[in-house]
C-alpha cells in the first residue's frame, strides 16, 4: 500500500467480478440513457454540461488517486489552464472549438509534464504539498498575466463552429458535443485502467518497492499516468470554458482542487463510476444551495466529514463492497 492511504484513510474498492460487473454495466447504460434523454426531459442543459466537465475532471483525478495512489492537491491548475488556453484560443485567435479543446489538452499535458517532473519522486503528503505549491504558482501567474483578464477572467468566450461547420451556439448541438467528449474521455480513462499499463500502475500502488525490484522504473510509470491525467483534465477545463463561456480564477483556485478531491472521495476512489456520481452530487447540491443562499463551504465540509466517518469507500465503493458480500 502506498503511504497515501494513511492520509486519506480510504481504501480502494475491491475488484469487480461477475455479478457486480453486470450491475455496473446496467448502471452505465442507465447513466448514458439519462444523459442522452436529459435535454428532452427539460433538465437545464448548461448545468448538465458543466456537470459533465467536472465529472470528467474528477475521473481524470481518480486515475491518480485511485490507481497510482498519488493525491494531487493542485489539480485545478491543469483544469484552469485548460480553460484559459482553450478560451483564449477560441476568443482571441478565433480557433474552432475542437482545436481550442486540443490546445487546452496540450496545455494540460505540458504543465503536467513540468509539475510531474518536479513532484513525482516525492511520496505521500510531500507529493500533495508540492502539487499544491506549484498550483498556487500557476494561480498567481493567472492572476498577473496580461492575457487571462485578471480578476475578471476571460468572458464571452465564443463556442464557435465545430469543424467550422456546426454552430455550437445551438444548445442541442453543444450538448451533443459535450456528451461525446465526456463519454470519450471517460472511456479512454477506463481503457487505461484496464490495460497492461494499468496493471503495472496497480502493482505500483499495491507495493512500490516490489515493483522496483521487478525492474520497473516506477517514476516513469507514475509520470506517464500523471501526464495522462493532466491532459484529460485540460480537456475538461477547456470544455468547461466553452460551455460556460467563461474562464476565470475560480477554475484555478485551491478550492477547486479540493472540490475534485471531495467529489472523488464521495463517489468512491478507484471506481469507474464513483467520480462521476460524486461530481453529480456535489455540483447538483451546489447549484441548488447557492440559489437558496446556503453557504456552500459548510456543505462541502459536512460531506467530507460524513465520508470519512460513515462511508470511507465512497458511495459506489460501498455499494460494490456490499454486493461482494
Amino acid at each position: 500500500m502506498s503511504e497515501l492511504t494513511d492520509t486519506a484513510a480510504l481504501a480502494p474498492a475491491p475488484q469487480l467480478q461477475g455479478k457486480q460487473q453486470i450491475w455496473e454495466r446496467a448502471l452505465i447504460f442507465a447513466g448514458i440513457a439519462f444523459l442522452v434523454a436529459a435535454p428532452l426531459l427539460g433538465v437545464y442543459p448548461v448545468n448538465l454540461m458543466t456537470l459533465m466537465c467536472f465529472a470528467l475532471f474528477a475521473a481524470a483525478f481518480n486515475l491518480l488517486i485511485g490507481y497510482v495512489g498519488l493525491l494531487s492537491f493542485g489539480h485545478a491548475a491543469f483544469f484552469g489552464t485548460g480553460a484559459y488556453v482553450s478560451g483564449y484560443a477560441a476568443k482571441a485567435w478565433g480557433w474552432t472549438p475542437e482545436l481550442a479543446l486540443l490546445a487546452g489538452a496540450l496545455s494540460g499535458a505540458f504543465l503536467g509534464l513540468i509539475v510531474g517532473f518536479l513532484a513525482i519522486k516525492r511520496k505521500g503528503i510531500y507529493f500533495s504539498m508540492i502539487t499544491l505549491a506549484l498550483s498556487q504558482m500557476v494561480f498567481f501567474i493567472a492572476l498577473q498575466a496580461p492575457f487571462t483578464g485578471g480578476e475578471d477572467g476571460l468572458q464571452s468566450i465564443p463556442r464557435g463552429k465545430l469543424f467550422g461547420v456546426i454552430d455550437l451556439a445551438n444548445t442541442n448541438a453543444m450538448y451533443a458535443f459535450v456528451l461525446v467528449i465526456f463519454l470519450a474521455g471517460v472511456f479512454a480513462l477506463w481503457r487505461i485502467v484496464h490495460s497492461p499499463f494499468g496493471q503495472i500502475l496497480k502493482a505500483i500502488r499495491e507495493h512500490e518497492p516490489r515493483s522496483i525490484s521487478l525492474g520497473y522504473d516506477v517514476s516513469r510509470y507514475k509520470l506517464i499516468a500523471f501526464v495522462i491525467s493532466c491532459t484529460v483534465t485540460g480537456v475538461a477545463g477547456g470544455l468547461k470554458a466553452l460551455v460556460t463561456q467563461i474562464a476565470s480564477l475560480t477554475d484555478i483556485t485551491w478550492q477547486t482542487s479540493g472540490e475534485v478531491v471531495l467529489m472523488t472521495i464521495l463517489g468512491g476512489i478507484g471506481t469507474t463510476l464513483g467520480p462521476l456520481v460524486g461530481a453529480g452530487i456535489v455540483k447538483t447540491l451546489e447549484d441548488h444551495l447557492a440559489s437558496l443562499g446556503f453557504p456552500v463551504p459548510v456543505l462541502i465540509g459536512a460531506i467530507f466529514v460524513a465520508c470519512v466517518l460513515l462511508f470511507r469507500r465512497g458511495i459506489i465503493g460501498e455499494i460494490e463492497n456490499w454486493m461482494k458480500r
Partner: protein
C-alpha cells in the same frame, strides 16, 4: 579483481545512518552458482547490505561489481533488469492482485506488455501459460485465482519466489525466506530454493542455522555491521567470535 568465477563482489561497502554505522567496510564475494548465506544477530546489518547491493539505499562508500559490470552508480530497477533480483524481509506480494496476476506483473516487462495503455488487459492472457507453469512449480496451482492477501504466510513466500523466478534472474537475494514458518513449510521452501538455485546464484539471509548448514555452500557472518567470519559451515561454526556472537546471544 573480479574473476569469471565471482558473480557479485562488494568492496569496502559502508553505510552510515546519521552518524550510526550500520554497515562497515564489508567485503563480500559471491561465487557464481553457489548458495551463499549471510547470517548474524538481529540488527547486524544484513538487510542493510541487501538494500545497498540492490541500490535501495545509497552506500556512504564502497563499490559493487555485478557480473563484470560496476553497478555502483545504477538505479534499483536497472540492477533488477541486469539480473540481480531481491526479495524482502516482510513478504512482498501485490495483495489485491490474484496469484496469476502477481506472476504476470513480473512477466509483463520482458513481453513488452507494460506500457501499452491503449490495449485491453485481455492481451495479458498470452502470459498465462508461462505464469501457470511458474505457479505450478511452487505448488500454488490450487490458488491461482486467489488474491495474494488471502494466502497463508508460507504461500505468500512461495508466490514471491515464483514471481521472482519469472524474471529469470541470474542471481537472487532472499531476505529471511523462511522466517515465521513451521517445519513443513520450511522444508517446502528449502526444496524450492534448491530447485531455484540450479543454474543460478543465491545469496540469502537466514536465521535458521540448520537450514543454512544443509543448504548453503558459503557463509558470511556479520556482526554490528562488520564481517567477522566467512567460509563453509563446518569452519564458520567453529569460529570463536561466531560462537560468541551466536551462542552467547542464544544462551543469554
Amino acid at each position: 579483481m573480479q574473476t569469471a568465477d565471482t558473480i557479485l563482489e562488494a568492496s569496502r561497502l559502508t553505510k552510515e545512518f546519521f552518524g550510526f554505522t550500520a554497515v562497515k567496510n564489508v567485503d563480500l564475494k559471491v561465487r557464481r552458482g553457489s548458495i551463499h548465506a549471510l547470517i548474524g544477530p538481529n540488527g547486524a546489518g544484513k538487510t542493510t547490505v541487501f538494500n545497498l547491493l540492490t541500490k535501495f539505499l545509497l552506500p556512504t562508500s564502497g563499490k559493487i561489481v555485478f557480473d563484470g559490470v560496476d553497478v555502483s552508480a545504477q538505479q534499483p530497477a536497472q540492477i533488477s533488469r541486469a539480473g540481480l533480483v531481491r526479495s524482502f524481509q516482510i513478504s512482498a506480494t501485490f495483495p489485491h492482485l490474484t496469484v496469476l496476476e502477481n506472476v504476470r506483473v513480473a512477466l509483463q516487462r520482458k513481453a513488452n506488455l507494460a506500457t501499452q495503455f491503449w490495449r485491453s488487459d485481455k492481451v495479458l492472457d498470452t502470459l498465462n501459460a508461462r505464469a501457470t507453469e511458474l505457479i505450478a512449480d511452487v505448488n500454488l496451482s490450487n490458488f491461482i485465482d486467489t488474491p495474494a492477501v488471502d494466502l497463508s504466510y508460507g504461500r505468500k513466500r512461495a508466490l514471491e519466489i515464483a514471481t521472482t523466478l519469472a524474471l529469470e534472474p541470474k542471481m537472487l537475494l532472499l531476505d529471511e525466506p523462511m522466517a515465521g514458518m513451521g517445519h513443513e513449510e520450511i522444508d517446502r521452501v528449502a526444496a524450492l530454493i534448491r530447485k531455484a538455485a540450479i543454474g543460478r546464484t543465491i545469496l540469502m539471509v537466514e536465521h535458521n542455522l540448520s537450514v543454512v548448514s544443509s543448504l548453503c555452500d558459503t557463509i558470511t557472518v556479520l556482526q554490528r555491521g562488520e564481517v567477522i567470519a566467512e567460509g563453509p559451515y563446518s569452519q564458520v561454526s567453529q569460529d570463536a567470535r561466531v560462537r560468541e556472537a551466536y551462542l552467547g546471544a542464544d544462551h543469554a
